[in-house]
Amino acid sequence: MSVSTPHVSWDLVTDWEQLTAYPFMVQALEAGAIVAVMAGAIGWFMVLRRQTFAGHTLAIISFPGAAAATLAAIPIAIGYFGACGLGALALAAVGRDGRNGRAGESAAIGTVQAFALGLGFLFVGLYGGQLAGLESLLFGTFLGITKGQVVTLLCIAVATLLLLAAIARPLFFASVDASVARAGGVPTRLLGVAFLLLLGMAVAATAEITGALLVFALLVTPAATAQLLTARPALGLVLSVVLAFLVTWLGLGIAYFSPYPVGFWVTSLSFGLYVLVRLAVELRHPDRGRPTARPPGRGRPNVRIPGQRTTAAGGPGQRTTAGGAGV
C-alpha cells in the first residue's frame, strides 16, 4: 500500500500530513469518502440487478440537467436532481414493457441516453462559448469542493442509504428472483421504480463531484469486484463499500502527487483490482462461472420453489422452445 505515493517519501505519516495540508484536499477526501460509501452500496444492488446500462444512462442524464441549470441560471444541484429524477422515471416507464424483453428495453434505454446527450449538447450550445465548463460537467471538479457541498452531500447520502436500508431486504429478494418474490407478495415493480429513483439520487449527488462520465466507475467496478469475491449479500455489500472507499482515497492521494486527473486514477485502480480478482477467481475455480449473489440457504424458509415454475409460466413472453434454456 505504501507504493501508492511514489513521488514522495516512504513515510506515510508525512505523506498524510502533506495530503491534508490544504482544505480543498480535506474536503475532497471527505466528499470522496461519502460518495464512495453511497456508490458502493447502491452500486452493489445495481450490479446484482444487472442494471449497469440504466446506471450509466442515469449518470449521463445528469449532464443535460447541469447544462440546463447553467443555462437557466438556477442552482446546478436542482438541474442534477431534476434531470436524474426524471430520467429514473423515464427508465422505469421504459423498462415496464416486458414483452419486448431485454432487446427492446436496452434499445429504449439507449434512445433515452442519446436523446439526453443531444439535449445537453443543445443547452451547452445555447449557453454559448463556455466550452471549458463542459469538461468539468463531464469529468467533475473533485478538487474544487466547498464545505457546504460536503454537508449537502452528507445529508443526501444519509437519506439515500436510510431509504436503501429500508427497502434492502425485499429489494434483494426481488432482484435475485423476481418471479418468486412476486408470488410471495413483494411489490417488485414498485421496488424497481424506487431503486431507480435512489440510483438517480445517488448519481445526481455524485455527478457534481466526479462528473457525469465517471460516476459510473464508482458504481459498477467495486460492486462487480465484490460480487466476484463473495456470494454472501451482507459481506458483499460491505466489501463493495470498502473497495469503493479504498480506490477513491488512493486515487485522490495518487492524483495529488501526480500530474494526472483523479478520475483516471480512481478508474484505473478499481479496474486493475477487478482484473486481478477476476484472474484469481478463475485460476482457483477454472470450471466455475462467475458467482452471483444468491440468498443463503438457511434464510427465508417460506420461499416456495415450486411456485417459481407456475409464476414463470404465467408471465408473458415466456413461451419459447427449449433451445436456449442452457444460457
Binding site: T52, R99, E135, L214, G324, V327
Partner: protein
C-alpha cells in the same frame, strides 16, 4: 440549402453514415448489444482524445481503439451478451483513460481549449470537408457491403446461436466480424455525429424497427430508412433553426421515430405484422 458546399458534404456523409448505423443498429438491437454499442461509442471518444494527446491523426486513433475493443467484445462472444457488468467495468476504465487523455491534451497544447474534445464528443457534420465527406461515405458503404455479406448467417446466429452452431455456422467468428464492422462504423460516424450521439443512430432506428415489425429483412430496411430519414430531416431542421446543433436535431428526430413506434406498439390492439402472435419467435428468443 444544397447550394452551400458544407450542406452538400453533410448530406453526402450523413446519408451513408446513417444508412450504415441504421442497418447495423437493427442487428445491435436484435442481439441485445446496445450497451456494447454504447461502450464502443465511448471508446471512440477515448481513442480520438488519445490520438490527439499523442499528436497523431485523430482518425487513426478512432479506428485503432474501436476496432481493438470491438474485437475484444466480440471475442467474449456469448458471455459478452449476457454480461453487461463486464462491459460496464471495462468501459468505466476507458472513460477514465478518456479523462487522462483529455487532461494531457488540454495541458499539452496551449491553443487547444477543449474544442477538439467537444468536436469528438458531439461531432461536426457541418464542418466536414469534401474529402472527409467522401471518405465517410466510402467507409460507410464498405461497412454496409460487409454487413450484407454476412447478414444471412448473422441473422441466424443472432436469433438462435445453438441451432446456427448445429448447422455449422461459425457463430463466434460472426460475432467478432459484426463487432469489427460496428467498430469501423463507430469510428467513422464519430466524425459526423460525434461519439456520444452515435448511440442514438444505433439504438433508436433499430429499436423503432423492431417494434414495428418482426420480419427480419423488412425490419432491417425500416431501421436503415428511419436512420437516413432522421439524418435528412435533422440536417434540414438544424439548417432552418439557427441555434439547433445538427447532432441534437438528428437524435431528436430519431427519438421521435422511436417514441412513435413505441406508442403505436402499445395502443395497437391486434398482434404485429406478419400474422404471428405477439410472442413472436424473435421477441421471445431475445428474452432468454
Amino acid at each position: 440549402m444544397l447550394g452551400h458546399e458544407f450542406m452538400r458534404n453533410a448530406y453526402l456523409a450523413g446519408t451513408f453514415v446513417a444508412l450504415a448505423c441504421g442497418a447495423i443498429g437493427w442487428f445491435v438491437v436484435l442481439r441485445a448489444q446496445v450497451f456494447a454499442g454504447d461502450a464502443l461509442s465511448h471508446v471512440a471518444f477515448a481513442g480520438a482524445l488519445g490520438a490527439a494527446a499523442i499528436g497523431i491523426d485523430i482518425r487513426l486513433g478512432l479506428f485503432a481503439a474501436t476496432l481493438a475493443v470491438g474485437a475484444g467484445l466480440g471475442g467474449l462472444g456469448e458471455r459478452a451478451r449476457a454480461d453487461d457488468v463486464v462491459i460496464g467495468t471495462v468501459f468505466a476504465w476507458i472513460l477514465g483513460l478518456g479523462a487522462l487523455f483529455l487532461s494531457i491534451f488540454v495541458s499539452g497544447s496551449s491553443g487547444a481549449d477543449g474544442t477538439a474534445a467537444v468536436r469528438v464528443l458531439f461531432g461536426s457534420i457541418l464542418g466536414l470537408s469534401a474529402g472527409d465527406a467522401r471518405l465517410a461515405a466510402v467507409v460507410a458503404i464498405a461497412a454496409c457491403l460487409a454487413l450484407a455479406a454476412i447478414a444471412r448467417p448473422l441473422l441466424l446466429a443472432s436469433l438462435d446461436p445453438e441451432v446456427a452452431r448445429g448447422l455449422g455456422v461459425p457463430v463466434r467468428a460472426l460475432g467478432i466480424g459484426f463487432f469489427l464492422i460496428l467498430g469501423a462504423v463507430a469510428a467513422e460516424a464519430t466524425q459526423a455525429v460525434g461519439a456520444l450521439l452515435l448511440l442514438g443512430l444505433l439504438a433508436a432506428p433499430g429499436g423503432a424497427a423492431r417494434l414495428l415489425t418482426d420480419r427480419p429483412w423488412l425490419g432491417l430496411g425500416l431501421a436503415a430508412a428511419i436512420a437516413v430519414g432522421s439524418m435528412w430531416l435533422g440536417l434540414f431542421l438544424s439548417y432552418e433553426i439557427d441555434s439547433l446543433p445538427a447532432g441534437t436535431a438528428v437524435i431528436g428526430v430519431a427519438t421521435a421515430a422511436f417514441l412513435a413506434a413505441a406508442i403505436r406498439d402499445r395502443v395497437r390492439p391486434f398482434p404485429r405484422i406478419a400474422g404471428r402472435t405477439a410472442n413472436s419467435p424473435v421477441g421471445a428468443r431475445i428474452e432468454l
